[in-house]
Symmetry: C2
Subunit: 189 residues, 2 copies
């Protein structure tokens, strides 16, 4: 039992984690991943993404037995019928989820047993930009606020250090704060 | 019937759309919105966001009768058990959904009847960054590719113009390409 207790921390298999890190250090070419989503318009503000396979560690990963289906929508005030969270809300979720998983993994690596991780995210937007009413406000959020409450069996300093390290390593935090080049191509037949 | 056909285009109520635009032009202070997500860690890479109310048009919008619950996870190779799409995949979905809705709304405003909008998004990542193995690769996607297929009752030029305009107005496209300032605060008790 003590072996299991030592290996699985915060629900993360740390033996597997350190094994993966060693493997990638030895063979950096295995670190090339590609994630994907395919999306289809349904009606009005309702569209759906399907997410399943991805490229990882030198080959196509087909281990997911079924696809994830994600429905987007807009509330009535933005001309939809709430068929799902709206795209900007999905971005907040992506950021919350990535920071949270980063906190959990960093804590596991540093022998911190967490008891809870909760967060509230807010994004402030002047919708004149996205609606095309005025060119001055940007289209997206002007700012995002993230408020974490993290508890666990470590002193406050250690818990704060875990959050800081997680922020420095989060993929979505990097993308949302620094931006990513996006290339769009279109066919019409 | 012809009135209904003229007003609802691509599933979008264009009368309501133009009414909203006029109202926001007249009272720009109504354009201040705030979207939110609250997230709770469950175990390992599994966490869940809850999304419901938001601030819009001068007051709290409580019109959604229930919250959207979004589960995040990681595949086995990233130490999870596929409890949901992973955070980076959610970001691709947010981008796909926002561009698609923008295309649908812009087309509705320009009297273009769409028959289909489909897209495939890819995000390329060297996971050495996010895993903390190497400081050189960035944590997030190096680039995102978006491939749209858009069909409708308009010439190719017009359809391409709709996609270009949508790109210029999409909230998530703006955030993902340009970045957003994110402020993180932490409590530990």
């Amino acid at each position: 039992m003590s072996v299991i207790t030592d290996t699985i921390r915060n629900g993360v298999n740390t033996e597997q984690m350190f094994g993966t890190l060693d493997l990638i250090k030895a063979q950096p070419e295995l670190a090339r991943f590609q994630f994907r989503a395919t999306n289809r318009w349904i009606n009005g503000a309702h569209n759906r993404s399907t997410i399943q396979n991805f490229y990882a560690a030198g080959g196509e990963d087909t281990s997911r037995s079924q696809a994830f289906a994600l429905d987007a929508g807009e509330p009535a005030i933005l001309l939809g019928s709430d068929t799902g969270a709206n795209p900007a809300e999905y971005l907040l979720h992506a950021l919350a989820a990535c920071l949270t998983t980063s906190i959990v993994y960093v804590a596991a690596a540093r022998r911190v047993h967490l008891t809870s991780v909760q967060s509230t995210l807010t994004g402030d937007m002047d919708v004149r930009g996205a609606l095309g009413v005025d060119d001055e406000p940007r289209n997206g959020f002007e700012r995002i606020g993230v408020s974490f409450r993290v508890t666990g069996n470590a002193p406050e300093d250690k818990l704060r250090e875990v959050v800081e390290r997680a922020q420095k390593r989060s993929a979505v935090y990097d993308m949302v704060t620094n931006g990513v080049p996006v290339a769009v191509e279109v066919t019409t037949h």
